[in-house]
């Protein structure tokens, strides 16, 4: 009897998950369809789709004169398409990083930036912009942002190993790092000329303006390399969520797992934000929404929240391009605004025990 209701409930849960994921995929496809038509070049909707086809099968499509005049193919393939795909992959990656962080730190309000990675990346970018100093000449800002972010992750790992790998230790270390890097960034802004400060500020807003096909390829490769191992190990996250002792008793190498998960999440975050600047809230909101919808089993939570993240970031980018006609708001500002209804909702739902 009990087994039956248990299995029924489980079946219903599985059904809910399948529906959820399918709905997300459909929404994503619809959003892509809308996103490629958006832009101040005012291309007619049909032209945008025709341009995609013309790029995929060059020579096979007969382009009308107005499309050659407006360079629709160049605009769609050289500017819009890789941006849309970057939003998807970036949102996917940030959301998964956030999910993993929330699992490792056992804190539903954790995000990829809780451990100071965003501040570190901003600091690296500021050094590159204001001082012109960096590691990879020709890619100063990107290289610095990535390396400083990984530096922060490494520092957290080092500090945690020193003091014991616990959620609280990591958060404390993260806060310390955040203050350190913020202070350096502020100092650089003080020393810099107004143009350089403007560049730093714009970088920190977070935007998809600087995406390109090579950058998209790099991010996709990294995300594709990191996510399958994460999924393979997702059960460990479930165990960790129960507590260290429980996890250990299940045979999960707690310290190593936490380090591995944290580094994986940091890597994905770093590789995304070094190209886009700090885009917040996706890594915080997506896993939360997904958990509310389909429960906290990390084996489905990870991919599902990835999809939610992709939808959120692409949706935010579409809004950012439409809300003020003629200008593109940085997508990081849009995601920050999206955080507001979310937190209000959480606030309203609270029932203090």
């Amino acid at each position: 009897m009990m087994a039956d209701t248990g299995m029924q409930e489980y079946a219903r849960l599985t059904e809910k998950r399948v529906l959820f994921i399918s709905a997300l995929v459909l929404i994503l496809i619809a959003l892509v369809g809308v996103a490629v038509t958006l832009g101040s070049a005012n291309l007619p909707v049909a032209d945008s789709y025709l341009a995609i086809l013309a790029g995929l099968f060059p020579g096979a499509v007969d382009l009308p004169d107005r499309m050659i005049e407006s360079n629709a193919v160049g605009i769609v393939w050289g500017w819009r398409l890789h941006r849309v795909l970057f939003a998807i992959v970036g949102g996917f990656g940030l959301a998964i990083a956030g999910t993993v962080m929330q699992g490792v730190l056992r804190n539903p309000l954790a995000s990829p930036f809780t451990l100071g990675i965003a501040s570190a990346a901003s600091c690296g970018a500021s050094i590159a912009i204001v001082l012109g100093a960096g590691f990879l000449s020709g890619y100063l800002v990107i290289g610095n942002a990535f390396l400083f972010a990984m530096l922060a992750a490494g520092a957290i790992y080092g500090m945690a190993r020193l003091k014991g790998m616990g959620g609280e230790t990591m958060i404390l270390a993260g806060i310390a790092l955040m203050y350190l890097f913020s202070a350096i960034t502020s100092l650089l802004q003080y020393l810099g000329t107004s143009e350089k400060v403007q560049e730093v500020v714009f970088w920190m807003f977070g935007s998809l303006d600087k995406s390109s096909w090579p950058k998209l390829t790099i991010v996709t490769v990294v995300v594709a390399a990191v996510v399958p191992p994460l999924l393979w190990r997702a059960w460990d996250l479930n165990a960790l969520a129960e507590g260290d002792e429980v996890a250990k008793s299940r045979g999960v190498p707690v310290e190593r797992s936490m380090a591995g998960f944290m580094l994986a999440a940091s890597l994905v975050t770093a590789v995304i934000i070094c190209f886009t600047g700090t885009i917040g809230f996706i890594g915080l909101v997506a896993p939360h929404i997904t958990r509310m919808a389909i429960g906290a089993d990390y084996r489905t939570l990870i991919p599902a929240s990835g999809l939610v993240g992709a939808v959120l970031l692409l949706g935010a980018d579409c809004l950012a391009r439409m809300v003020v006609p003629g200008t593109i708001l940085p997508v990081g500002i849009m995601t920050a605004f999206l955080g507001i209804p979310f937190f209000l909702y959480l606030f309203m739902r609270r029932r203090d025990a």
């Binding site: 832009g39 101040s40 070049a41 005012n42 013309a54 790029g55 995929l56 060059p58 020579g59 382009l63 050659i68 005049e69 407006s70 360079n71 193919v73 160049g74 605009i75 393939w77 050289g78 500017w79 590159a128 912009i129 100063l140 800002v141 020393l191 000329t193 143009e195 350089k196 403007q198 560049e199 714009f202 935007s207 303006d209 600087k210 390109s212 096909w213 090579p214 003629g326 200008t327 593109i328 940085p330």
Partner: protein, 408 residues
């Protein structure tokens, strides 16, 4: 894979459209030089085909006009030009659709006589200033270098894009990469158009590039009449006798240190910046340091930050007066030579920054050494710049607020 497809697509309709020839237009023997007889033959063929019922293969009107330009301004040869970032570009056709992200460059182009028709897109800062750039009001809005609008930039189909050379290099690099992937036929040029050291070279290069060499020389003669005169007369003053100057930007106590633009301009005007030993470009200085270094002249810049008034859109001197009084009444500052001698001057950033910097240098030279420059009238220089070279119908006697105090 997708990148190759994109390149293929671009190639296909570059070929389908008009031929983007790399050869000098109408150069029949392919020698690389368009001779007078080749040009004549092209003109005659075109006239023949259009008016005399001829059946010759005539050059297209675009080719013919491009050939006329190349012959007239580039000696019939392809032009190889080096911009301010050191990049060399070779052109065989004139630039007809220019997108300019740098409003200082738009101003410099106007000085040498470039027609507004040739500019198809400008930055939002240019559009935000209709008093100074009225004829560019209808142009496409390209955004700014830090937040560019790529779709607008692509939609106007420019053949050339002008960016900054020494500032915001990573943003400019990003703009180049993205626009090049949208339209590989766009050429990129980087000019600062405001740095005193590179000014004359940039004016000449732009003149050659845009077929306005004559206009460039005429403008440089005017520019030289100010800058060369100032340089000559201050050359005889030994460094120790140079007037000590304290310069303050629109933020209180924010001065200019070594290597900053203002420091350079003070030196060009013959002054000695009392904070030129500071390596920070824009240091916030200690008010007591100003008192102890005792400058003879104080120059205060307004026009941005909290002191955003004055300039071309403002006719009122009261805000300038208030700033002047505030400086003079700073505690213990009445001990400073500049305040005691009544040599505190307010100047608007438009007159001392950007391509108009030489007007600011002229003003400063007359403030530092009034005896050496009795014949230099910076206001007249400014007016000539506006009327003759900027082609603006703007009367400085009636409008605009740039310096205080000013005794006409």
């Amino acid at each position: 894979m997708t990148r190759k497809l994109l390149l293929l697509a671009c190639c296909i309709f570059l070929l389908a459209g008009s031929a983007a020839a790399e050869a000098v237009p109408c150069d029949r023997d392919g020698s690389g030089t368009l001779t007078a007889s080749e040009l004549a033959a092209a003109i005659l063929d075109s006239l023949d085909a259009r008016f005399m019922g001829g059946t010759v293969q005539a050059p297209s009107p675009d080719d013919l006009r491009d050939a006329a330009f190349v012959y007239e301004y580039w000696d019939g040869k392809a032009l190889t030009i080096t911009d301010s970032s050191g990049r060399t570009t070779t052109l065989t056709r004139p630039l007809k659709r220019i997108a300019v992200f740098n409003s200082d460059t738009v101003e410099m182009m106007r000085s040498i006589g470039v027609e507004p028709d040739r500019v198809v897109g400008v930055s939002k800062y240019t559009l935000d200033d209709p008093t100074y750039f009225p004829e560019y009001r209808g142009k496409a809005n390209l955004g700014s270098v830090w937040s560019p609008d790529y779709e607008q930039a692509a939609a106007v189909r420019p053949d050339a894009v002008f960016l900054y050379a020494t500032i915001s290099q990573s943003s400019c690099d990003d703009i180049e990469k993205t626009l090049a992937s949208i339209d590989p036929s766009i050429r990129f040029f980087r000019f600062d158009s405001y740095r005193p050291a590179a000014y004359a070279v940039e004016v000449r290069t732009m003149g050659l590039l845009l077929g306005k060499a004559e206009g460039a020389e005429r403008f440089l003669a005017f520019h030289g009449s100010v800058m060369d005169t100032v340089a000559e007369r201050i050359a005889s003053i030994p460094t120790d006798d140079r007037v000590p100057v304290y310069l303050e930007s629109w933020n209180d106590y924010k001065s200019a240190g070594k290597g900053s633009g203002y420091d350079e301009k003070i030196e060009l005007a013959g002054g000695r910046n009392i904070f030129s030993d500071t390596t920070i470009e824009y240091p916030t200085v200690d008010p007591e340091a100003v008192i102890s270094r005792n400058p003879d002249v104080i120059v205060k810049i307004v026009g941005a930050g909290e002191l955003v008034f004055g300039g071309y859109g403002d006719d009122d001197s009261s805000s300038f007066k208030a700033v002047h009084r505030a400086i003079e009444s700073r505690p213990v500052w009445d001990q400073i030579g500049a305040v005691r001698g009544g040599r505190v001057h307010i100047i608007h950033s438009d007159a001392i920054g950007g391509p108009e910097y030489f007007i600011g240098v002229a003003y400063m030279a007359t403030w530092f050494y009034p005896d050496l420059f009795p014949d230099l009238d910076p206001r007249a220089v400014h007016q000539q710049y506006l009327s003759e070279f900027q082609r603006l119908d703007y009367d400085l006697d009636e409008h605009g607020m740039f310096v205080y105090p000013y005794d006409g």
